[in-house]
C-alpha cells in the first residue's frame, strides 16, 4: 500500500505501531546495556560480546528501518538498490580482514 493515499484510520493504526516500536527500542537499549555489564562481570570473550551487541543493535536498526522509515511497505526497486549498497558495505567491512590476514609482512 502506498502512503500516497492513506486514510486517517490507516494513519491511526500506524501511530499505534510507532508507539509499540518506541517502547521496544527503549527495552532493547536497556537489554544492550544490561547484557554488556553482565558480560563485563562474567568476563566474556570479545567475540561473544561483539556478537550479542551487534545482534541487539541489528534488531533495533531493523525496527527503525522497517517501521519508522516504512521500509516494510516499499517496492522492490528500492530493495534492489539497498541490497547493492549492503553488498558493497560488506565488501568495505572486509578491508580490515584483507589488510591483516594475507600479508607477508609482520606488524
Amino acid at each position: 500500500m502506498s502512503h500516497h493515499e492513506m486514510s486517517v484510520e490507516d494513519v491511526k493504526k500506524h501511530v499505534r505501531t510507532y508507539i509499540a516500536v518506541f517502547v521496544a527500542l527503549l527495552v532493547f537499549t536497556g537489554i544492550t546495556v544490561g547484557v554488556s555489564m553482565l558480560g563485563q562481570n562474567q568476563g566474556w570473550t570479545v567475540t561473544t560480546a561483539v556478537l550479542i551487541a551487534l545482534f541487539v543493535a541489528s534488531i533495533k536498526g531493523s525496527l527503525v528501518a522497517c517501521y519508522f522509515m516504512h521500509l516494510i511497505s516499499e517496492k522492490s526497486m528500492l530493495f534492489g538498490i539497498l541490497a547493492l549498497c549492503a553488498f558493497f558495505f560488506l565488501v568495505l567491512l572486509l578491508i580490515p580482514v584483507i589488510t591483516v590476514s594475507d600479508n607477508v609482512g609482520v606488524h
Binding site: N103, V104, G105, V106, H107
Partner: protein, 332 residues
C-alpha cells in the same frame, strides 16, 4: 628505438637481468605482449577494413540487420581462456614462488634494510650471524638505525648507507622496514620490487646470477657512443672504458666520468669534441642500482643505493674486513 633508448647495452625492452627468478617474470611479460599483438593486429585490420569498405558514398546504403558474428563470441571466449591461462599458468605460480618459499635460514644471507627519507640503510649481522638490538631513541645522523652499542651482538654488525654489498649465487633474504614514510625497494635489473611500509617488516628474497659480479657486468655494458650523440643527460652515469687518445695525448683517462653536473659535463664534451675525438667508449660507473619506486618526498628521485655484487670469497673477505671497523659510514 636503440638510438632513443639505449646509450649502453641496457636492452631496448626489459633491462638486462641478473637474478635467477627474473626469467619467469620476463617470460610472462613477453607472452602477454605477444598475446596483445595477436589480439590487436587482427582487430586493427578489421577496423581499417570497415573504415575503408563501409564509408558513406553515393549508392552505398547501410544495412539494418546486424551481422551474425560468431567470430566475436569465439574471440571473446578465446580471450577469456587465454587470460585464465596467463593467470593460472604463469602469474600465480611465479607469485607464489616469489612469496611463499623463503630460502632456509642456514643457507641464506639475511640482512635488514631500513629505508628513510632519502636513503637506504643496510644492516648486516656480521660474522656472528646475530643482529644487534636497535632502539629508536638512539637514532641520530651518525647512527641511522639506532644500533645499541651495549648489545654484544652488535659489536661485529655492519651498517652501510646507500651502499649494498651482496654475494652472487647465494639466496639473499632482506627484511624491509621504513622509519618514516612508504618507500619502495626496487632493483630493476633483478626484477625485485617491494613497498617498504612503516610499522611493518616485509621480507623478500632473491638469488643473484652466478656470473653477475659488478666487475664482470660493467665491461659487458660497454658501448661506443658517437661524439655527436653524446648528450650529458644520457652519459652522466658512464665512465671511460679505455684511455681516449688524440695523437697519443690522453684526453679522457680510463675510469674518468664525463662531468659531475650539467655545466661541467657540457664543457667537457665540448672540449673533447674540439680536440677531435669522434667517439667515446663508455661503461656504467655503477651498473646495479637500488632505487625508490614510491613517491617519498621532494628528494625521492635521489633516493638510490649502489649494489656491489661479489663472488662468495670476495664477499666473505669484505664482510670480515668491514666488521673489524664497526664505526658507521656517514658520508651521505
Amino acid at each position: 628505438m636503440n638510438l632513443l633508448l639505449a646509450s649502453t647495452h641496457y636492452g631496448a625492452w626489459t633491462p638486462p637481468l641478473y637474478s635467477q627468478h627474473g626469467g619467469s617474470i620476463d617470460k610472462l611479460i613477453d607472452v602477454v605482449h605477444v598475446f596483445m599483438f595477436v589480439i590487436f593486429i587482427p582487430w586493427a585490420i578489421f577496423f581499417v577494413y570497415c573504415l575503408m569498405n563501409f564509408r558513406a558514398r553515393p549508392g552505398h546504403k547501410a544495412t539494418y540487420t546486424p551481422i551474425k558474428a560468431k567470430v566475436s563470441k569465439y574471440a571473446e571466449v578465446g580471450v577469456a581462456i587465454f587470460e585464465a591461462f596467463l593467470l593460472l599458468g604463469m602469474s600465480m605460480p611465479v607469485w607464489a614462488d616469489y612469496k611463499n618459499n623463503p630460502p632456509a635460514p642456514d643457507q641464506r644471507l639475511e640482512m635488514r634494510v631500513v629505508a628513510e627519507q632519502f636513503q637506504w640503510n643496510f644492516h648486516y649481522s656480521g660474522p656472528d650471524g646475530k643482529f644487534g638490538a636497535t632502539r629508536s631513541s638512539l637514532i641520530s645522523a651518525s647512527n641511522p638505525i639506532g644500533l645499541a652499542e651495549d648489545d654484544p651482538a652488535s659489536k661485529d654488525d655492519i651498517v652501510r648507507v646507500n651502499e649494498c654489498h651482496l654475494p652472487v649465487d647465494k639466496p639473499i633474504y632482506l627484511r624491509l622496514t621504513s622509519k618514516d614514510v612508504i618507500h619502495s625497494f626496487d632493483i630493476p635489473t633483478m626484477r625485485v620490487k617491494q613497498d617498504v611500509i612503516p610499522g611493518m617488516e616485509i621480507p623478500i628474497w632473491f638469488t643473484i646470477d652466478k656470473n653477475a659480479t659488478t666487475d664482470s657486468i660493467r665491461p659487458q655494458m660497454k658501448t661506443v657512443v658517437p661524439m655527436d650523440k653524446a648528450e650529458w643527460y644520457k652519459v652522466r652515469h658512464l665512465v671511460a672504458a679505455v684511455d681516449h687518445k688524440v695523437k697519443d695525448e690522453v684526453v679522457l683517462a680510463k675510469g674518468a666520468d664525463l662531468g659531475a653536473d650539467l655545466t661541467k659535463g657540457k664543457e667537457l664534451l665540448e672540449q673533447l669534441r674540439k680536440k677531435g675525438l669522434t667517439e667515446l667508449t663508455l661503461e656504467p660507473r655503477n651498473p646495479l642500482e637500488i632505487v625508490c619506486a614510491q613517491l617519498c618526498g621532494n628528494s625521492h628521485f635521489k633516493m638510490k643505493a649502489q649494489v656491489m655484487t661479489h663472488t662468495a670469497e670476495d664477499f666473505a673477505k669484505w664482510l670480515t674486513e668491514s666488521s673489524k671497523k664497526p664505526e658507521m659510514q656517514t658520508d651521505f
